[in-house]
Structures are given as structure tokens and as C-alpha cells.
């Protein structure tokens, strides 16, 4: 048993760290609400370095890093306070195209995703289909060489920035098993009939939207995989390796900043002990994450369902840290509101990307056999 990184891994970490120190623009660090230009600026800096899509096959621009290197890279990004790399194109749509897309689809979309020419969003949730995603109703009817799509998507992150949306639609409403009538479509957001309406969240920020689809004509060539096989695609994506569900790097940075900004507050032992417990939880999560990586590297197997615990604990830690920051600040001071709003904003983390209750269902069923 050896919990330390190898010399090569440490050298790799130092390489990433010093590159970030030199190339991450100061004005993009720790910024809460980023414009499309800011997000894409960072995307292109990474693309130029060849680091924007580490997990892709090398022929399409992947780095060939192993799982540990990919984890180190993501942790360093978080720890440096870098803007998020938007996952919708790079680590959601692209893996689907790589696994299920035609050659033509790959050639058409992958380079543009890589270079940040297209901004993607994910059209999954609907007003009546949240955790129970298979109950989605947005309808796509085939007419010769195109589909006509009608329906509504909701909670669509960054739809207001997006050029394209990958979308789950119902192509067969008659099947008994609801999962069997769903297809995976790529929709150009400029198509007539696509309307994006902002949904402001309680922190006052705008990142999610409603997307209305009224008689939207989508060329049949934009279907990924076979018609009515979209659920297979969606499930593949859920199991797709993501190294950073625990957000370890981000939380480590948050913790460090918290200690620096509120050194006086640490004399309040009640607050200090709460902070320590979160710090310990974060240490444990980091080791647990490394244990999973070690297992993946040795077995060559994708992560099991138990990695859902990284999402559960990671988001709980993110929330706890923003709450502690809020509690440390003077409630009467106007500048405290930024921390309060951040606390509000972070409540989304245990809801999005499969609510923590859904994650518990997954572990109960897949890992514990309940």
C-alpha cells in the first residue's frame, strides 16, 4: 500500500500546475457567472495546448493520459480556480458520437467541439420528466428526410449560449416499455421554432432555461444511433467515465480560501470544529476517489455504480463549505451577500446531474443489490 503519487505522476502534476500558473488568465479565476466569451476563451486556451479533451481517442485530439493523470489534471484545474470546462460538447455529446455516431457525424461535429466552434447544451429534462427521465414527451415525427419536433425542455443549462442541443425525443409513443420509444437527436438551435426562455434561480443568476420546440424541422441525418434506441445512448453516457464528480480540487481551493479569509473566525471553536469535520470529510473523499482510480487502473474496468458516492459526498462538501463561508461573514455587512448568494447557488449541486436521491437509488440497486 502506497498512497503517494509516483515520481512521474508528481512530475506530471507539476507540469500541469506550472502551465496553469502561466496560462490561466487572472481575470477568469474564481468568477461566479461567466459569459459565453469568457468560457470559450478558456476552452480555446486549453485546445491550443492540446489539453481540452484528455479522454478522447488520440486520433481525435485526446492526450492519451491514463485515469490517474486525467484525475490529476482535473484536480489541478479546480485547485487553480479555473473556469469550468463546459461538459456538454466535450464529455457528453462527443463520447456519444464516438461510440454511436456515423463517420460523417464524427467528422462534422468533433473538430468543432474540440476547437470550441460550437457551444452545446443538453436537452434531457422536461416539466414532466425529471428523475423519471423515461417519461419524456417531446415528440419527433418522421417525415421522409426529416423529423418534426414538438415539446418542451427545462433546466437546460446554457441553452442561451448554445449553438446546438443534443436531445432525447419520443419517436414511438405506442411501445409498452417507455424506454424503447426514445431517440437521440442533434438540433441546431438556430432552427425556426426553437425558443429559449431564461429561468432565473434564487441566487439571481441565469444559467438554466426553458427550451420550447414548435414544429422544429431536424434533418434525419442528425439522428444518432438507431431510431428508438436513444435510451441505450443515454445510459451509455451516464456510465461514461468522469474523473471529477467529487470536485476535489474545487473544494480544496474553497477550503484554503476559507481559512485564509477567515483566520480570526477560527478562534470560534464551534465554527472551527464544523470546518474541521468538513475538511476531514474532504480528505476521506480524496482518498476514496484515489482508491477508485487505482481499481480502475488495475482492472481496466469502468467505474462501478459505487462512484455515485463521490457525487453524493462531493456535492455535500461543496454545499457545506459555502454555508461555512456564509456563517463566518458578518450578517450585517452588504458584501456578505456575495457569500450568501453563493450558498444559495450551491444548493443546485445535490439536485443536478442525477439528484443525490437518485444516486442513492443507483447504489442501492447496483452495488448493494436491494
Amino acid at each position: 500500500m502506497d498512497l503517494n503519487y509516483s515520481q512521474e505522476e508528481l512530475a506530471f502534476r507539476d507540469e500541469v500546475r506550472s502551465w496553469l500558473a502561466a496560462n490561466l488568465p487572472q481575470e477568469l479565476k474564481d468568477k461566479a457567472h461567466l459569459s459565453k466569451d469568457e468560457l470559450m476563451r478558456w476552452h480555446r486556451i486549453l485546445a491550443k495546448q492540446g489539453w481540452v479533451a484528455p479522454a478522447w481517442p488520440k486520433e481525435w485530439g485526446g492526450t492519451g493520459w491514463n485515469v490517474v493523470q486525467r484525475y490529476i489534471f482535473e484536480e489541478e484545474l479546480g485547485y487553480a480556480g479555473s473556469p469550468p470546462i463546459m461538459p456538454f460538447g466535450l464529455s457528453m455529446c462527443a463520447p456519444v458520437l464516438l461510440a454511436f455516431g456515423t463517420e460523417a457525424q464524427k467528422k462534422r461535429f468533433l473538430p468543432r467541439i474540440y476547437h470550441g466552434d460550437d457551444f452545446w447544451c443538453q436537452g434531457y429534462s422536461e416539466p414532466g420528466a425529471g428523475s423519471d427521465l423515461a417519461s419524456l414527451k417531446t415528440k419527433a415525427q418522421k417525415h421522409q428526410d426529416h423529423y418534426v419536433v414538438n415539446g418542451q425542455k427545462i433546466w437546460t443549462s446554457y441553452a442561451h449560449y448554445a449553438d446546438w442541443m443534443f436531445c432525447l425525443v419520443r419517436t414511438d409513443a405506442t411501445v409498452e416499455k417507455r424506454q424503447e420509444g426514445i431517440s437521440f437527436l442533434l438540433i441546431d438551435m438556430k432552427t425556426p421554432g426553437v425558443t429559449v426562455r431564461p429561468l432565473l434561480l434564487m441566487d439571481g443568476g441565469h444559467s438554466v432555461n426553458e427550451v420550447f420546440l414548435d414544429d422544429v424541422r431536424v434533418p434525419a441525418e442528425n439522428l444518432v444511433h438507431k431510431e428508438n434506441q436513444g435510451w441505450t445512448v443515454a445510459k451509455y453516457l451516464l456510465g461514461y467515465e468522469r474523473m471529477n464528480t467529487g470536485r476535489i480540487g474545487e473544494s480544496k481551493r474553497e477550503l484554503r480560501k476559507l481559512k485564509e479569509s477567515f483566520s480570526e473566525k477560527q478562534k470560534d471553536l464551534r465554527w472551527r470544529d464544523r470546518l474541521t469535520r468538513v475538511e476531514v470529510e474532504l480528505m476521506a473523499l480524496e482518498i476514496t476517489n484515489l482508491r477508485f482510480l487505482d481499481r480502475m487502473r488495475r482492472t481496466g474496468q469502468p467505474p462501478g455504480a459505487d462512484v455515485s458516492m463521490l457525487k453524493i459526498r462531493g456535492t455535500e462538501i461543496q454545499q457545506a463549505l459555502t454555508e461555512l463561508a456564509m456563517q463566518a461573514a458578518d450578517p450585517a455587512a452588504p458584501e456578505t451577500q456575495a457569500l450568501e448568494r453563493r450558498y444559495l447557488d450551491m444548493r443546485k449541486t445535490t439536485i443536478y446531474a442525477g439528484s443525490n436521491e437518485i444516486q442513492r437509488n443507483i447504489i442501492a440497486k447496483m452495488t448493494l443489490g436491494l
Binding site: 500500500m1 476521506a284 487505482d294 453524493i312 459526498r313 442513492r360 448493494l368
Partner: protein
């Protein structure tokens, strides 16, 4: 980076587990408890090399560290072993690190061979393993006294988790005291604390496994109670709690073996103790709750595991003490 036990560690863990499954199941343990402990079990531990494992090679040991002992302690925690293994190991460590040449020679080889048991006393109360120890290593400030058990007035009792312990009265008579600085004693304490974390992780594993089995087997309202989401989510939280605790036990044991500084080691150990205390409380309470009335019963092992976890959460310092130490480092 590698989280596996090496081949030797794995083989040892397997043989310890096999022995405990066969000769230390819940029924056999009950019989052992009649007497308080088993000489035969101790002899088997010695045969397997457990008593020699953590001692220095020059005194008949194998020079093993905390990671080498970790899997053994996990197995002990699962089986709720009552023999005074950890007290013997810790007292032997004190002798090995700070004892006189004569003490090392006269004590350590016998301990390695399984022919001598020790207890480590940091005070006069609740000295675990004292009733069956041949010698008690008594720490008074920085003085190390080694006293034959027969020379010590001793009032035996059982701890909540069925370990033989005693209140001793030390009258200042014994071998001329040796000296140990506080850094060394802290090192031994951290070693013990890290191993108690591993033991707790083993007990947590049993509590989780047996509760999961129960959820699948116990039927109410016509279905296994594990079909109810309210219980599923609680079981999942126990499982996560266990995995997080296990991670911290790994961290503590490897930092005890290898750290850049005493601070780094103590920080890791305190962090582990905090996490293990919280997980021990969470898992033990939930394991009994999810068993319903049966969980309260003496007849089920899970209630005994509850006791062990309750005590382990506080042995070598409770969460509050370690919160304070962690913040001070």
C-alpha cells in the same frame, strides 16, 4: 499509488480470516468469553507470526509496520477478538523504542514467540489486558516502569466490549524506570490509534454486511424490508460512511509508517480518528435501528459489534480531543 496489500500482507490477512471464521465465530466467541480470553487462540496468533510481526528483527520480530498490521486488525474487528493483542504490541513498541538493552533482551523475544503478554498503562484505571499480562508497562510522565503483573495490586473488570481490563495500583516499586520523551510516546499513541481505526473499520464492515443481509431476508408487509426506499437510502449512507472510514484508516496507517514529519503523521491520525468516531457512531446506531428489536438483543452479534464500535470511537482519544489536536497542528 497503490491501495492493495502486498502478497505477504494478503496471505496473512487470508489466514487470519480463515482461522477466525472457523474458530472464532459468534458461538465459539461466547465460549471464549466464559473465561475472558483463550490461551489456545493466543498460541495460534503466535504460530501465525502475529506476535512477532510488529517487533524489530534484532529481537526476533519481522519489523512490520502499521500497514502490515492493518488487515489483521480489520479481521479482529470483524470477529470482535478479545485477546489483548494491541496492548501487547503497543507495550512492546515502548520497550523496543525506549527500553534498556536488558529489557529488550528479556522481554521482546518472548513476546515475539507468544510466550509473554504485555499491557500498556497510561494511568491506573481501565488498563486493558492487565489481568492476563505477564508484565505491565506503566507510563508515568516520561518514566517507563516495567512491573510484573503479580507485583501489582489489581482489580479486574470487563470493558463494555468484553475486554479484560483492570484498575491497578502502582506504588512506585519496580524496575528502575527508563525514560521516553513525549515525542516517542506520541508516536506509539498514534500507532495504536491508527490500528484502532483499522479495527473499527473491520467492525463497521461486519455491521454493514449483516444489516444488508437482514434487509434482504426480513419480510414485512409481504416484501423484504430492503424494498423500502426509506431503508435503502439509510443503508447506502452506512455503506458510504464505511468506505470513507476505510479510506481514512488507510491514510492513518500509511502515514504512521511513513511521514515527512511528526506533525504530518499526527494530523492524519487525528483526521482518521475524527472520521472513524463519526462513522462508528453512525453505522453502529443505524445497524441496530434497521434490525429493529432484534438489533437490541444479546443474541445477535450486531449488538456486540455496537458495543465495540461505541468504545473504539473513544479509545485513543474521542472526536472532540482529535478535533482540538487537528486544529493545533
Amino acid at each position: 499509488m497503490n491501495f492493495d496489500y502486498n502478497e505477504e500482507q494478503q496471505l496473512l490477512a487470508d489466514s487470519v480470516r480463515r482461522f477466525l471464521q472457523k474458530d472464532y465465530d459468534f458461538e465459539k466467541r461466547k465460549a471464549i468469553l466464559q473465561n475472558g480470553w483463550s490461551e489456545r487462540v493466543w498460541a495460534t496468533f503466535a504460530e501465525m507470526g502475529l506476535t512477532a510481526l510488529p517487533l524489530p528483527a534484532e529481537h526476533g520480530g519481522f519489523g512490520g509496520g502499521a500497514v502490515d498490521l492493518m488487515s489483521v486488525m480489520e479481521a479482529f474487528g470483524e470477529a470482535l477478538v478479545v485477546e489483548p493483542y494491541l496492548p501487547t504490541v503497543l507495550a512492546a513498541q515502548v520497550i523496543a523504542k525506549a527500553g534498556s538493552a536488558q529489557q529488550k533482551q528479556s522481554i521482546l523475544p518472548l513476546v515475539a514467540q507468544g510466550k509473554m503478554r504485555l499491557a500498556l498503562a497510561t494511568g491506573e484505571r481501565g488498563v486493558i489486558g492487565a489481568p492476563m499480562a505477564d508484565k505491565v508497562v506503566f507510563l508515568r510522565g516520561n518514566e517507563i516502569w516495567v512491573i510484573g503483573r503479580s507485583e501489582l495490586p489489581l482489580k479486574p473488570h470487563r470493558t463494555l466490549d468484553d475486554l479484560a481490563a483492570a484498575e491497578i495500583r502502582f506504588d512506585g516499586k519496580g524496575e528502575k524506570p527508563g525514560h521516553a520523551d513525549s515525542a516517542l510516546l506520541e508516536e506509539v499513541q498514534d500507532f495504536g490509534a491508527a490500528l484502532s481505526c483499522a479495527e473499527a473499520v473491520g467492525a463497521m464492515k461486519f455491521a454493514c454486511d449483516t444489516t444488508l443481509e437482514y434487509l434482504k431476508a426480513r419480510r414485512q408487509f409481504g416484501v423484504p424490508i430492503g424494498a423500502f426506499q426509506a431503508l435503502q437510502h439509510r443503508m447506502v449512507d452506512m455503506f458510504i460512511s464505511y468506505e470513507q472510514a476505510k479510506s481514512m484508516a488507510c491514510l492513518a496507517c500509511s502515514k504512521v509508517d511513513q511521514s515527512e514529519s511528526a506533525n504530518e503523521r499526527s494530523r492524519a491520525v487525528s483526521a482518521a480518528k475524527i472520521k472513524i468516531a463519526d462513522s462508528a457512531r453512525h453505522i453502529s446506531q443505524e445497524s441496530v435501528q434497521l434490525h429493529g428489536g432484534m438489533g437490541m438483543s444479546e443474541e445477535l452479534k450486531v449488538s456486540h459489534t455496537f458495543r465495540r464500535l461505541t468504545v473504539l470511537a473513544r479509545r485513543f482519544g474521542d472526536a472532540d480531543q482529535h478535533l482540538a489536536r487537528f486544529a493545533s497542528l
